[in-house]
């Protein structure tokens, strides 16, 4: 496919919130994602599962523009993200264009990455003030509301070094939400946490699913959690989607051998 085969914009009747169109990513000679087609509808909660190294993180990072893809186009809300239209064709997006499109995406990381030199509330306010241009008062109100939502309002003036992993991750979720993204990405947000605090983070994500019409893509190793809250589960293998289905179906009657093997291996590990 050449760049002229990709639409400059997705048509009204076929406009998922996120579309990976024939996307490939390689590091040197290692193909991490190959010819991936992947749609996520508005308001959909999609979970990505799969063995280590199957490219789950890479998919999220490509969508967050933390990695540049080598082939294909990613669309967000109908507009190209990795490319931009110029003279009727798509060319690789420049930083300015990408900033505009990227504003509808937010991401939470495995290791929280809070700003260590700022308190919880300052962490949340920084983006709205510096990037969105909100007044301090507006940003404060928005941040307080979100810290309440994640149950962290009583720790608003603590620095991250004084917070537990679960608490830090909840602040990180509030910080990402303060930017009002349309799509939220969660990359193994509970993997670095002690078992007893995983629940407080999953509780927040459940609440998000229940109360907000956010589009979410989540990578997780917690099959039970994925099963409870996902609209669809995608099993990744070798950089492409081996099998995808609603959780009730994928977890109870997987079709592909690799899916079956993976699920039984995961079950044994628990």
């Amino acid at each position: 496919m050449s760049n002229t085969d990709y639409p400059l914009e997705l048509p009204e009747h076929d406009r998922p919130m996120v579309r990976f169109m024939n996307v490939s990513k390689s590091y040197g000679r290692l193909n991490v994602i190959s010819h991936l087609d992947f749609d996520v509808a508005e308001g959909e909660m999609v979970t990505i599962i799969g063995p280590s190294g199957s490219g789950k993180t890479t998919v999220l990072r490509a969508l967050m523009t933390l990695e540049t893809i080598n082939g294909g186009v990613i669309y967000v809300d109908g507009k190209p993200l990795t490319h931009m239209p110029r003279d009727g064709v798509l060319v690789p997006a420049d930083e300015r264009y990408q900033r505009k499109i990227r504003s509808s995406i937010g991401m939470c990381f495995q290791h929280f990455n809070l700003f260590p030199h700022m308190t919880a509330i300052q962490n949340c306010m920084e983006g709205p003030v510096q990037v969105l241009g909100l007044s301090r008062k507006e940003a404060l109100e928005r941040s307080e509301e979100l810290l309440k939502m994640v149950g962290m309002i009583d720790k608003r003036d603590q620095h991250p070094s004084r917070l537990s992993g679960g608490q830090q991750q909840r602040v990180a979720i509030a910080r990402a939400l303060a930017m009002r993204p349309k799509v939220m990405l969660f990359d193994e947000v509970t993997s670095a946490l002690d078992p007893e605090v995983i629940g407080e983070v999953t509780h927040v994500i459940r609440k998000l699913v229940a109360e907000h019409n956010l589009t979410m893509i989540m990578v997780t190793h917690q099959m039970g959690f994925a099963r409870d809250i996902s609209d669809r589960v995608c099993f990744f293998y070798g950089g492409s989607i081996e099998e995808q289905a609603p959780p009730q179906i994928l977890f109870t009657s997987p079709q592909r051998d690799r899916t079956k093997q993976f699920l039984s291996a995961v079950k044994e590990a628990v």
């Binding site: 967050m64 523009t65 933390l66 900033r99 990227r102 504003s103 995406i105 937010g106 991401m107 990381f109 290791h111 990455n113 700003f115 260590p116 030199h117 700022m118 308190t119 920084e126 983006g127 510096q130 990037v131 620095h159 991250p160 070094s161 004084r162 910080r175 990402a176 930017m179």
Partner: protein, 222 residues
């Protein structure tokens, strides 16, 4: 050989030496301020997306670090005019010393910037921050705390290097002591006093730097 310390001479020259100390402090202070800013700029210039700029800056730093400070001072003062740059001894001296220390401080800043966790850059991008906001609000504050001890060491270093300015006739402490010595044919008292004065300035400086680092870490919550 007899050791005779003359107190009357000591008291006589002390006021002049204290005046010269002020000059030394100004030279060190202004030079250091230039180096603090220049060093940061040199460190940041190596992180832009233009490889040519990085290359030029790296070569400049290497050049400055591998040639003597005295040479650089002479260069600015005596060679500058050939390029139409006429600077007084004071200005060329402070400029040269500031530039010299910029090169050293830039390495300290560079290490500080490199010590910021990669995840911090990624989250800035995820929050859609501009490069300016990323550096000013997130990266530089975090790079500063680990850099303070290194930056502080060079504060004492620059103080001890100010006597180099005497080669182009700047009336700092060393030059003044030397002049007093040759006027009176007595060097014991002036040079001993110079040593004492340097000691009295250097010692508390190291302590102040440590205190500043502690307070900075506290303020940044690190």
């Amino acid at each position: 050989m007899t050791f005779n310390w003359r107190w009357d001479f000591t008291w006589e020259i002390l006021p002049q030496l204290l005046w010269a100390t002020l000059n030394t402090l100004i030279a060190a202070g202004v030079g250091y301020a230039i180096a603090l800013v220049g060093g940061l700029l040199l460190a940041l210039a190596q992180r832009t997306k233009w490889p040519a700029l990085t290359f030029v800056v790296r070569e400049l730093i290497e050049f400055i670090r591998s040639t003597p400070l005295v040479l650089q001072i002479f260069f600015v003062f005596y060679v500058g005019p050939q390029f139409g740059i006429f600077l007084s001894p004071w200005v060329s001296g402070i400029f040269a010393i500031g530039l010299h220390y910029s090169a050293y401080l830039s390495e300290v800043y560079r290490a500080g910037l490199n010590s910021v966790a990669p995840g911090q850059w990624e989250v800035c991008r995820a929050l859609n921050m501009s490069p300016r906001v990323t550096y000013v609000r997130i990266i530089i504050p975090q790079a500063l705390a680990p850099a303070v001890p290194g930056l502080g060491n060079y504060l004492v270093g620059i103080l001890k290097d100010t006597p180099m300015l005497s080669v182009i006739g700047v009336m700092e402490l060393m030059h003044t002591a030397n002049a007093l010595g040759s006027e009176n044919y007595r060097y014991l008292e002036p040079f001993t006093l110079v040593g004492l004065i340097f000691l009295l300035i250097s010692l508390p400086t190291a302590g102040l730097v440590r205190m500043f680092e502690r307070r900075l870490r506290l303020r940044l919550g690190l």
